[in-house]
Symmetry: C2
Subunit: 401 residues, 2 copies
């Protein structure tokens, strides 16, 4: 046993399906993230098919520049065990089916075991290709094994801070100094469909120091961007909103037209949603709007189904019908058809109807407030549905704050 300081690992993904573009390579990002979290340097990834010569060349090249070479794929009977055979070739320099000094790694979710080979101050780790087999093996065997090897060389931790309601350029401007940090703590910015993620990464000698560094930067970010932040790491906007509703013991019901059930689906994805979510109605016809939600026929006739008036009556209707604390109504044009000159694809109205307990008689709902907002989204039908649902949850979030 030996210990490598500043260990340097390389990932080789093996599979013709990757070269044909049939599969997106999630193995590389999964292993990369775990290596980064363990303070193991990682500068290179390669993807190759099942051609023996190219695979052997790739492994040989990797061994010249990296301490650890991790392969995924090409194991098991269906692919003729090419990886094991080639590693044996590269390592032993003689014909053998299994590399000398190899240790098997148990694969609880599949038939092909993994391999660890320690070979002249280098380590080769061969893992199966299917993510559901590879991922537990990385977590259970590979990372603990490499952490032991790397000793106390330090770790990298990261935390994602998630924002909604501000454009990437505005966020960028407010944290420009942080984005230019170049020391042991760095901040990256990523944007997707109206949301922005700030990723804080800290390299430190141990987890406690890394956490302290991240907390210091997070405090600065929160001071500057405060209420635009809805969550951290894997938390979704629905997690955040449902969490606030449950904590505040408030119930909600939603009446959806253009989002077609997506808002209900997002809220009910959150474990424990049944504590706050009472009812949802997906109202795709005028009949359903007036029969199910009590939207007035004259309102539908006068203003049309996509109007602030109908959104407001939908919110009020579901509010009353479900006996919830909050009613949410949404109507719009998701496209690609249904638009007119005055009402283009992407036009969406979102309304909230809220009850307030009377200040004198506690518990009795006496007053009701209705808010209606107009939005104009761009994109495909599915993208407009997604943006509209997120905007509705964000409107709700601001009301709950």
């Amino acid at each position: 046993m030996y210990t490598i300081c500043n260990m340097n690992a390389e990932i080789i993904c093996i599979g013709t399906e990757l070269l044909l573009g049939h599969v997106v390579n999630t193995n590389a990002s999964f292993i990369a993230e775990k290596l980064a979290g363990s303070g193991i340097d990682h500068y290179f990834q390669a993807t190759v098919g099942d051609n023996p010569k190219r695979l052997a060349d790739t492994i040989r090249a990797a061994l010249t520049r990296s301490d650890v070479v991790i392969t995924t794929g090409g194991l098991g009977p269906t692919v003729d065990d090419i990886t094991t055979r080639i590693i044996a070739d590269v390592v032993n320099k003689k014909q053998a089916l299994i590399p000398e000094g190899a240790k098997w790694l148990r694969n609880p979710y599949g038939t092909a075991p993994g391999l660890i080979i320690e070979h002249k101050s280098k380590i080769i780790i061969a893992l199966p290709g299917p993510p559901r087999e590879m991922q537990p093996m990385v977590m259970d065997y590979v990372i603990p094994y490499l952490r032991k090897k790397v000793g106390a060389a330090g770790i990298i931790k990261s935390r994602s801070i998630r924002l909604i309601g501000l454009a990437e350029a505005s966020v960028d401007e407010k944290v420009k100094d942080l984005l230019n940090l170049s020391g042991a703590v760095r901040v990256g910015i990523y944007a997707k469909q109206g949301e922005v993620e700030l990723k804080v990464m800290a390299k430190a000698k141990d987890e406690r120091s890394a956490n302290a560094e991240i907390a210091r930067i997070e405090k600065v970010i929160r001071k500057r961007l405060g209420r635009y932040i809805y969550g951290v790491d894997r938390e979704t906007l629905a997690d955040n909103v449902a969490g606030m509703l449950i904590k505040g013991r408030k119930t909600i019901a939603v009446a959806e037209s253009c989002t077609g059930g997506l808002i209900a689906n997002m809220i009910t994805d959150v474990p424990g949603a049944s504590k706050t979510f009472i009812e949802g109605i997906v109202s795709y016809s005028n009949k359903s709007k007036f029969m199910g939600l009590g939207v007035k026929q004259e309102t539908l006739k006068k203003y049309g189904a996509v109007s602030p008036q109908v959104a407001g009556e939908m919110a009020g209707g579901i509010h009353k019908r479900a006996g919830a604390d909050i009613g949410l109504g949404i109507t719009g044009i998701a496209g690609p058809t249904g638009a007119t000159k005055a009402k283009p694809v992407g036009l969406v109205y979102i309304a909230l109807s809220l009850s307030f307990p009377s200040p004198r008689k506690r518990g009795k709902r006496e007053s009701t407030k209705t808010i209606v907002r107009q939005f104009n989204f761009l994109g495909s039908r599915v993208e407009i549905k997604h943006q509209a649902a997120q905007a509705a949850l964000d409107l709700l979030r601001w009301e709950l704050l």
Copy 2:
């Protein structure tokens, strides 16, 4: 201008975020798929960070084994234009900011243009990293340019045949001979969450011959697996079912408990869904089940909310309420809480209530049929919701066939 036969391309993705595992590399699979579709061989992908020496070494190594080297990322002002600078270095062998003989590629969706450099019988193409900028440039410039270079060397086409309701092993057994083909036509099998995909790939001299080869194999697959096939390529199960409903001029309404709006959301993702989808109710409380759907209180009391009886009454209730041709009811335990010994997480009941026009008086709905099925799914809350929604759509599909 020169033409390369049997052109061989390599992809280099540049970005520290890829090495930290913050981002899944979808660029490599996107470009790989387009290369395969154009008959351009592709044996190697590499991912590197923004270290100048490692990037230069990687590009040099790529040029020794490939005719075309395509890079993504590392372009534009924010990253100090490292890619352009390094390519200039590698190509010109003298200090320069822009490689000699470079042609700029317009980037309609961003600020950093791409580059094409023809250098001693080799081609280097540098593209920006963000997928929404890179993808149109590949489709509009890179692929037409390479197709011209490759001349009449042939193309690869593929077609995905999508199945539901059969386990991977059963599909495998029925098409084992096809999975072992090794000529110009090949078939691959991929499985995910209860669904199976058979991918047929054909290499031929032109598109027509490739299509003919694919059609020949597809015919064999359809003969053996017939009704388990719900779609091809990017078609979803909801596309298939909504398409059948629209074509058959049938309307549908859904009453969801455990799926929480997901079925409504899937159906309303399909453009034109408003022609068939009338109403959805997400019934998360007993109150909503008997007030909104007319489920009897004694049924709820006697059998519980998760029971075949309640599923049946939900389907019947929404069927009648919405005045649709078909009512779908679903109730179950998505978890992680709410399970009992008799009713474990993953237990789901799905019911359909169907109207038939009376054979004598056409158009009058006289008879109604109700079907109820029990399922037991495994997985997380979100996975159980997904599997339950797909099973409901599949049940509907079999009814419509």
